[in-house]
Symmetry: C2
Subunit: 240 residues, 2 copies
DNA sequence: CCGTCGATGCGAACACTGTACGCACAGCGG
DNA sequence: CCGCTGTGCGTACAGTGTTCGCATCGACGG
């Protein structure tokens, strides 16, 4: 654990427990990996650097995690556990679904690396947190009276995933530039306007976006507009 | 081009044009990269291997492409060019939107690596093919009479991206196993049923999925169900 | 026809990466 | 006290993206 091997073989080489610094464990590794992914980005995560942050040797991690890909799977399931769902049995299914969608989006934006990983491994994982998330969604749509709750889940999730990953990827690009979102947009605008000069519909849309001041507000309303569209479409499937 | 430097410095070292084998060029590099990504997967693409397939030295590629990331951007825009949209001015906007959505899905499934890359760079690219795709979508929803065509585009794209990338990621996982989709499902089923044993809604859904024989049909209907939901929701926004 | 020049190809090298292997050592059951 | 099992880790290997500087090319000006 904490104590690395002393080069001088002697009494001092004996390791001490240091019980406050928790031992190297799968949970501790995953936790530190997530912290590293959040602050330094997905490209900066390497087994060596992660081990260094845990005061451990690089290859020690492999005692608790089979491979880096497996570590990423664990990290994904871990953050899925963050998504709080409104308590089951809520009478208002729209509000509950909206809450779930916003919880997903918030998590995806808090951990932008999630978007990159989802594209490589999908939702095929069978992690416990992901299962419980799906289960609660299933309960939500079933008690709401949907004849095909699984399809409703798939539809809602597809929209939420698509919107959130696109947004997270955009924010990652912005972050890499080192500028604020507004600065980045301002810098990009001339090129965008020039590139879309020949496209009547596009240039109008871009110009409109440039006029609105707050990019965060734009993204929020984009998400909730689309969410309302999907929920409206789903509502039509509810037997009256 | 084709001729690599002869170790013996002599007349034979002179390179010959071989005009049928096109010279190393940005277009040729991108084309070969896509072929490699399609057949060998995203992890197998390295600058060295790509160069070898082009009978070139590894670092020669950097004369035409600034970095590997830039090469991926070019590849993404290139496959966006494959997406055929129904001719503009179609009277039936639902059919046109359905066609566009299916074109996107088909492309994403034909190039599964696209899903991985989209999560890292989003749709922030300003590539010509992507712009023209967006422009045609804008024309579609504008002539259909939507008051906020940009929002309609965003909603539809979010759903299509979410569904397609999830599906592509699943198919990638299946492909890595070396089995057919049905075999993979059959092998995964016991674990899935056991993991979902405690979840009433989930296990029912899994059991139902296991009963249906053709996985391709399931995925197709999942996509078209969700697409109908989104289009229904959008239709409500059309002024009557 | 020769000399020069910009563009292109590329071998070698650097700093890293994920991970297999085998040794060292701790704590524990007998 | 012995031996076993689980844990940490130093070393090593086969790769990765990318930089640098040199060699060679076709085209062009004198």
């Amino acid at each position: 654990m904490a104590a690395r091997t002393n080069p001088i073989p002697s009494v001092w080489a004996r390791r001490q427990p240091e019980p406050d610094q928790p031992a190297l464990s799968r949970a501790a590794i995953v936790r530190e990996a997530i912290a590293m992914l959040d602050t330094e980005g997905i490209d900066a995560l390497s087994m060596r650097k992660l081990a260094a942050r845990l005061n451990a040797g690089a290859t020690s991690l492999y005692r608790h995690v089979a491979t880096k890909d497996e570590l990423m799977e664990l990290a994904v399931d871990e953050v899925f556990g963050e998504m709080a769902l409104p308590p089951t049995g809520s009478p208002d299914w729209r509000a509950a679904a909206t809450g779930a969608a916003e919880a997903f989006r918030a998590t995806a934006l808090r951990h932008p690396w999630l978007s990159s990983v989802l594209g490589q491994a999908g939702l095929a994982y069978l992690g416990p947190n992901l299962l419980s998330f799906s289960e609660r969604l299933g309960a939500l749509f079933t008690t709401a009276g949907f004849p095909e709750p699984a399809r409703a889940i798939d539809t809602l999730l597809a929209f939420v995933i698509g919107m959130s990953t696109t947004e997270a990827a955009w924010l990652t690009t912005v972050a890499r530039s080192g500028e604020t979102e507004a600065e980045f947009i301002a810098r990009l605008m001339p090129a965008a306007l020039q590139a879309t000069a020949d496209y009547t519909h596009l240039s109008g849309a871009y110009a409109a976006a440039a006029a609105t001041p707050d990019p965060v507000e734009i993204r929020n309303s984009k998400f909730s507009y689309g969410l309302e569209v999907v929920l409206d479409g789903l509502a039509l499937r509810l037997p009256r």
